[in-house]
Symmetry: C2
Subunit: 198 residues, 2 copies
């Protein structure tokens, strides 16, 4: 295993996932204009899942053009009523988002793209469907107070592994997909490339 | 919310799950002769899933006979080739177990029983199916060395949230069910009883 694995994501939960698995990797994040990519793809009527894929690719490509090794880019978008939602920008937006999600289902679409020498070599998508229960206003107040600024760090304003679990009545999706990096297919690819233990 | 929630399980991951959700609860564990329950039920040709249910009930009942409040008992059994497997007793058994799982699927059956005033008031079961990949002997050595005694703490000799993820090629099951306590239905029941926020 003499090739590097690089995670091109600053997400704490993605690092937790790779750390948990016991992988050796580095984190290198370079800025990508995600808003511009989204805006141009939405203007072109791209499929929403293609936007997640393009964002994951952009993050990996940005690093892979300068760094040797296998560079993992990942993105997760939230889709509700056929619209794409970004991370809430502040606590007010987080509250509005949660209110708009109440009593409805939404999807998280996750994309992973691995690049090498400035070109994509592997890509993967996964989808999670989540049903938010018809929670009370009192619950929402408690939830927002409990989570605080963490709400603005995830696309759906929840950490499923935290108090966010109390938002849901049902969830369909893979364990790691829900968290934001669908680990098992990534490991499978890394094994074929000889950079994860077989 | 003036009624107590008691978790009748010493499992660290079950505590992590309830802590993550932000529930207020206590842990009270009283000894239960799990081996005797299993042996008598196996002698009676009970269904394996009924054994998980009986173990969860026994743990909750043991506490609920003495403590007021809602007492949560939980159990998870491993089934492979229609046989029930216990936690490996030592590192040698853990290695044998992992070798027997290699390249095959197995199931984790999880049961939760909630008791109140010495009687069961709610019960739930869930099933997770896991496919273990055909890993190398070198991988097994690394895995056993990395996990150490933790291997003997879980029924399948793996922590899915840890390096155990590298054992699997595919997993079908709910997020919390895999970890050992199917949280969402439990929360739903606790809400109906007024002991979790609605």
């Amino acid at each position: 295993m003499n090739q590097r694995i690089i995670l091109a994501s600053g997400s704490a939960i993605r690092r937790d996932i790779l750390d948990g698995a016991g992988l050796d990797y580095e984190v290198i994040v370079r800025p990508v204009d995600e808003a511009a990519i989204k805006a141009s793809m939405l203007a072109e009527n791209s499929r929403l899942r293609d936007i997640a894929d393009a964002l994951a690719e952009a993050k990996a490509m940005r690093v892979s053009r300068q760094e040797p090794g296998l560079v993992i880019g990942a993105d997760q978008i939230m889709v509700m009523d056929n619209h794409l939602f970004d991370k809430p920008k502040n606590m007010n937006e987080a509250r509005e988002r949660l209110l708009s999600m109440r009593g409805k289902s939404h999807a998280l679409i996750g994309a992973v793209v691995i690049c090498e020498n400035g070109a994509p070599v592997w890509r993967h998508m996964c989808k999670t469907k989540l049903w938010v229960r018809d929670f009370s206003d009192e619950f929402l107040d408690w939830y927002i107070k409990t989570e605080g600024e963490a709400l603005t760090k995830s696309v759906g304003a929840y950490r499923f592994e935290g108090p966010g679990s109390q938002l849901f009545e049902k969830v369909e999706g893979g364990f790691f997909a829900i968290l934001g990096l669908d680990l098992l297919p990534v490991l499978e690819y890394l094994r074929t490339r000889g950079v994860a233990r077989t």
